[in-house]
Symmetry: C2
Subunit: 335 residues, 2 copies
DNA sequence: CTGAAAGCGCTTACAG
DNA sequence: CTGAAAGCGCTTACAG
């Protein structure tokens, strides 16, 4: 239990040195005698002194806080993603001596983020979701606040980091094709989301790489409603499609619900895969073939990039992280 | 776009008054002429000046930050709870001019919280989960940091706020009994969790209030594993129990999975209810009868209490919030 | 009603 | 190698 009222001045007086000296002994900056440094450090440890970071910040024009921008209008299946991001970010920040300040924003209201910025409470920010024409992003740019965006943006000025969705979808789709599937359908969400486009490109790439593949593929985009999914699945059942590929696990959950209600056996009567793996799907019966990303790593790396930027280092504009394809019960051939 | 480099000194000089006057015009504290106040305020608005809260904090020995303590070792079904708490807290804090600083803790590591406290980054804290012998709670108490705990604790010194789990479980159980159910089983989680005890007490209370009720009830506690649930459900099916009552939605999810695999129709062959409602359950087929709490309200109230404490007001030790029983497809008689 | 001055707890040129 | 002094951007007794 440290004394939270101890100040640098107390220590200086107690040790008969100047505040300057104490400050230097702690920070390691500036020349200082080995002897005195030791004396100070011993005192500091013995009394569990820890400096007032806020005062330090004021003097250095820093806050040692990072803004974490979280969407308030989330879909429930996205929660594990944000949670893991948070975990990775908060750990990395903490290890570097920074704290994380929360700003929840919605599509139309970014007041919390504005507050954090105008009140000068943060040194930089991390966006955990990016949209086309992203309000938080625009605001940060206009106000010269350094930030990194988790997810992909077309804005080349933004430092961004994302998983390699395109590559992942390419590989998973390729495996399905190589396994002999001759008819499949893709159900995807909103095309404004850049991730949707990347997934689609990956899907298509798998076909392009297999010029000799023969069969039928159907594509449904901009689907975000359970009933729509139901209709689509109905028609796909009639057409005797072999496999339904879902772009995310919300859609996949819908598809599985339909299967369950209609008592269609997965994978015997219909195979199902998802382009995104959440723990939600892992708990389902049957377990779903999908792609796994290390989201906590994504958070750690994002935070690491921001810290580099704050140190004045140059960082590259776009970083892509890996993936892992997981074959599970919902498809026929496990590798 | 405000000028983030404008200071109180600039304004004072520009207006030919003292910094003191500017400060007073902004804060409303101390006597000041109506005339001068207006001049200052107009200048401030015209130039979008907003004070440096960190400097203000240093002078007043405050940070205007609240610590939000979130568990890092969560179960996935708890996420919506934490998310909604966060939302409520962050909104209330924001409206009161505070920001929210994140501290993720695990059962054995509370270093992030310690950092926030020793670095003097927060004025108070909110715990979003309480355990028996709660490390974060103990730490905050030892260091004299004001806090409020969401959830229940036996510690009478802690300011705590919770939903009325006992009352809610009493009412839902009562409805089942009044509906004519004559055999039921309760499956619950860890008894160390105070919420488990409260739910159990509510369950029992319903029986006590119905002295004339005849039938059988079985109770299984300390269950937290899918396989255990499976075994229990097996035996309950054999015993032809009419209804399975789950203490939380993780357990309920397990029970429903078993039903699905064994092709037991709910509610026709077995009724199922949960003592906690999460959106996870609402999306299931069939939808599950359960209890609904306004978690965002819980967050708002918790934050409100902490703010009161920081103002030096007395707050009562324990606050209980309401609930709503939702009858859905998983039980036979909807009201 | 208004202001000069000291203070919050640090850092950092500048001198020595 | 060390220190006195000014400064970070605010607030607040104390005087007038």
């Amino acid at each position: 239990m440290e004394d939270r009222n101890l100040t640098i001045a107390d220590i200086a007086q107690e040790l008969g040195v100047s505040k300057t000296t104490v400050s230097r002994a702690m920070s390691g900056k500036g020349r200082i005698g080995e002897e005195t440094r030791k004396r100070v450090q011993e005192y500091v440890e013995a009394h569990h002194y820890s400096p007032n970071v806020v005062a330090k910040g004021l003097a250095q024009n820093k806050t040692f806080n990072l803004g974490l921008v979280l969407p308030g209008d989330y879909h429930i299946v996205e929660l594990p993603f944000f949670q893991k991001c948070m975990m990775g970010i908060s750990r990395t920040a903490s290890a570097a001596g920074y704290d994380v300040l929360l700003s929840m924003v919605t599509a139309d209201k970014i007041t919390q983020l504005k507050r954090a910025v105008t009140n000068r409470k943060i040194d930089g920010a991390i966006l955990t979701r990016t949209l086309a024409d992203d309000a938080p992003m625009r605001y940060l740019q206009e106000n010269g606040v350094p930030f990194v965006a988790i997810g992909s943006t077309e804005d080349v000025h933004a430092v961004q980091i994302d998983n390699d969705h395109r590559g992942a979808c390419r590989e998973l789709t390729g495996r399905l094709l190589d396994d002999g599937i001759r008819s499949l359908a893709l159900i995807g969400g909103r095309e404004e989301y850049i991730v949707t486009r990347n997934r689609l490109r990956g899907f298509e790439a798998a076909f392009e790489e297999r010029a000799d593949w023969k069969g039928s593929r159907r594509i449904f985009l901009n689907i975000d409603d359970e009933r729509e999914v139901e209709k689509i699945v109905d028609s796909l059942l009639e057409e005797r499609v072999a496999c339904i590929v879902c772009m995310d696990d919300f859609l996949c959950g819908c598809v599985l619900n339909v299967m369950q209600t209609k008592r269609i056996a997965v994978p015997e009567q219909m195979q199902v895969v998802s382009f995104y793996d959440s723990s939600m799907l892992a708990n389902r019966i049957p377990s779903v073939t999908s792609i796994r990303f290390d989201v906590e790593e994504l958070g750690r790396k994002a935070c690491g990039l921001l810290l580099q930027m704050l140190e004045g280092e140059e960082v590259k504009g776009r970083t892509l992280l890996g993936y892992e394809v997981r074959m599970r019960e919902s498809t026929k051939r496990c590798p």
